[in-house]
């Protein structure tokens, strides 16, 4: 008896079901070359940051984002694969996840503060364009988050699908983030009237 072999494209492997989807469009513009002063400030800040609660892992990652993605992916893999002992490993991962989340959040906030300080030094005539630019960037970010929730919604069924429908119903709050916007910086500047 002939055995029928299921056709598989070069892009599909049996492992694909547990892989992340391709990056979701739209992509934000790539960062341009950094102001040397800001770069130095950032390096100084990052140099003091521990990416991990394990000393032997220091220096393993190029930046806190990579460290955080790694532990997120590891937790995903433990649950998706369900190999023996996954439950205990996932429990242990929590502390590491918590430590790296704090590091990554601090890094984002530090970068945002540096951008805000830079913004506060702009001439009044440059501020209008900068605010417009930030609004566009925020819109792109929201689109990316909405697309991720929409994909999750489409990939699930029943109660799980209802969960993502509810999550997608709050895109503004969900994608707003905790970072201060340049609008806040401008309003503060108006209040203090330092430059006007």
């Amino acid at each position: 008896m002939k055995l029928k072999q299921k056709k598989m494209t070069t892009h599909q492997t049996p492992e694909d079901k547990n892989q992340y989807p391709e990056p979701i469009a739209p992509k934000l513009p790539e960062s341009l070359a950094m102001d040397p002063k800001i770069q130095t400030e950032r390096d100084n800040i990052q140099g003091k940051v521990l990416y991990s609660s394990k000393p032997e892992e220091e220096g393993k990652f190029a930046n806190p984002l990579e460290a955080y993605k790694e532990i997120n992916d590891q937790q995903f893999a433990e649950i998706a694969e369900g190999k023996p002992g996954w439950f205990q490993r996932a429990l242990t991962n929590r502390e590491l996840l918590k430590a790296r989340k704090k590091t990554v959040t601090d890094d984002i906030l530090n970068k945002n503060e540096a951008a805000n300080r830079h913004f506060s030094l702009l001439h009044d005539k440059q501020i209008k364009d900068a605010l417009k630019q930030e609004t566009e960037l925020e819109a792109l970010k929201k689109e990316k988050i909405k697309a991720a929730v929409k994909t999750a919604h489409a990939k699930t069924t029943g109660k799980v699908q209802n969960f993502f429908a509810a999550l997608g119903g709050a895109p503004a709050a969900f994608a707003a983030g905790a970072i201060n916007t340049w609008q806040n910086v401008r309003d503060e500047r108006k209040k203090t009237n330092l430059h006007n």
Binding site: L28, I79, Q126, A175
Partner: protein
């Protein structure tokens, strides 16, 4: 700790990591997990991890793009 409890806690931890998600919305979402089976919770979590990855990447993209914009602005004025 049993697995169902662990998985619900994981859902809550992932939601906590979404900066900006308000408390009421989080509670509304957690109520939806109350009667989920272990299979449902696993499916939910796998997708939440994917979203968390995109979310944190988007946060980084925006702060990096803001820096890039300002740097370019300074350079073009020199």
């Amino acid at each position: 700790m049993d697995k169902i409890k662990f998985l619900k806690e994981e859902v809550e931890l992932v939601l906590d990591s979404f900066e900006g998600l308000n408390k009421d919305k989080k509670e509304e979402l957690m109520i939806q997990t109350e009667n989920m089976t272990e299979e449902n919770l696993l499916e939910l979590l796998k997708n939440l991890y994917r979203i968390r990855r995109d979310f944190i990447q988007a946060e980084y993209d925006i702060v990096n793009a803001k820096d890039g914009y300002l740097t370019n602005l300074n350079t073009s004025n020199e």
